[in-house]
Subunit: 254 residues, 2 copies
DNA sequence: CTTATCGGTTTGTCCGACAAAGCTAGATTT
DNA sequence: AAATCTAGCTTTGTCGGACAAACCGATAAG
């Protein structure tokens, strides 16, 4: 696979990249822990011996990557990258690749089933309480598609949290960000759609509480199949996500 | 969920962020297509009416996000974000969150099974030829853990490609980047490990070719269970990924 | 037809500067 | 004395200008 080269690969990375890499190393290696300050721009200028503009370009890179962030007073500090923020980038990439709803549906089915299985096995009392709270709020807005869609997305996030599996939480996030925004137009377009959604959530939560994996999986599948049927009424599964958004939600929002 | 506010949210984002957002909008909306030039920094300075340093900070943000890249002569252009690059960020985030191998294993099992199911259903002749080529090369280096680990990772990427599901490809990538680097130490640590790995790949490819979903899933599960058993010989599943890396691969490399 | 050379562009980096916002600590008020 | 206010210092965000190195295109030389 690899021949040993005569010369080491010459390093021609621009200075701002080296600045970013140097800071990244310190964070990933744990020498700077999340929450600890990176130092002021002036200090970084002194330490790296480059201009402040160069330092700032390096900072932008790390900031976008989620490795550093700013505290209340805009000072730099290391931070734990938020899945959510990073997932947004991935979702955007998916849109640009013109993925279809069929791909999205298939993968979401896999991940949500895995999610409910984990939740049935390992949900804590607190997880269950959170889900119950969400269910209660959902029942109160069953006639309002916009609010219900938001709570539906939250329900599934809580379910993934209840699985106690952070890798799973991460893996499902990009798909969820594309998947669940469509809930609004589907719930709004199908009579009794809201009621069915809340009913499904109720059964799922019940299954999690009773540690009944079979029921949990069954109702999760039904829940997603409902979504799929609703979707097929308004668009083709084989069209790109972006295209369908353009014609529905997006047009209405702007 | 939302009251209609009297005033529109006042916009206080820094200029470099606005520059980045403006360019991002053009790309995501499709007005600038992947491969098309963004323009020189000087042109952006003129269009946005801000300083070049500000423009450059905005460019760094987009570059890191994978939305723009540079052609051979360092000129800016829109590009299709590569899953791989973005997945690297997510993998890094997972390390910082100190995820355990148990989480990684559980999720990988889910995703690889989904992957093989998709491949059995939809693999093209070209996909199968690629997998066969990989298998052949693997068989040739069965005694070399480093090369074999690399080919194993490639095999699973090819399998995900064969599923024809880009969302799935994306979802499995971050986990794969953490999961498969361990293959080297596992294959190296277990006698006959290399042979078992190649054998499993052979059965999986055979199942894909025969469109036998049951066999494909069975051998994929066995393949991953092998990995898990090998892993348990050298570390605990409940330790963090980062911690284990530190003691094995990482120490050897530097 | 290939090679060499030469401006013109563009990027990467640097310097110096300034307004706005936050923080600090001393001064002022109650 | 405690709370409050204010003035100064620090830090960030932005700006203008500058220059070397790399790159492009075109022209000149072999």
């Amino acid at each position: 696979m690899s021949a040993t080269p005569l010369f080491r690969r010459i390093d021609v990375a621009p200075a701002y990249q080296k600045v970013a890499d140097a800071i990244e190393r310190e964070i990933v290696n744990g020498r700077i822990k999340p929450g600890e300050p990176i130092g002021t721009e002036q200090q970084l200028v002194a330490q790296f011996g480059v201009n402040r503009s160069t330092v700032r370009e390096g900072i932008r890179v790390l900031e976008e990557g989620g490795l550093i962030c700013r505290d209340s007073s805009r000072r730099l500090q290391a931070c734990l990258p938020r899945y959510n923020k990073l997932a947004t980038r991935l979702s955007r990439a998916l849109i640009l690749h013109e993925v279809t709803f069929r791909e999205l549906f298939e993968t979401s089915m896999t991940l949500e089933v895995a999610s409910v299985e984990g939740a049935v096995e390992r949900a804590t009392d607190e997880n269950i309480a959170d889900l119950a709270g969400n269910l209660e709020r959902s029942a109160a807005v069953v006639g309002n598609p916009a609010d219900l869609a938001e709570l539906d997305a939250e329900f599934h996030v809580l379910m993934a949290k209840a699985s106690q599996n952070r890798v799973l939480q991460l893996a499902r996030e990009p798909a969820a960000q594309l998947f669940f925004p469509t809930t609004e137009m589907i719930v709004g377009g199908v009579p009794e759609g809201g009621a069915r959604l809340v009913e499904a959530h109720r059964h799922i939560l019940d299954a999690i509480t009773r540690r009944d994996k079979e029921a949990g999986v069954l109702w999760t599948r039904r829940h997603l199949q409902d979504w799929r049927r609703g979707f097929e009424k308004i668009a083709s599964l084989d069209r790109s996500v972006e295209h369908t958004y353009m014609e529905h939600a997006y047009a209405a929002r702007q």
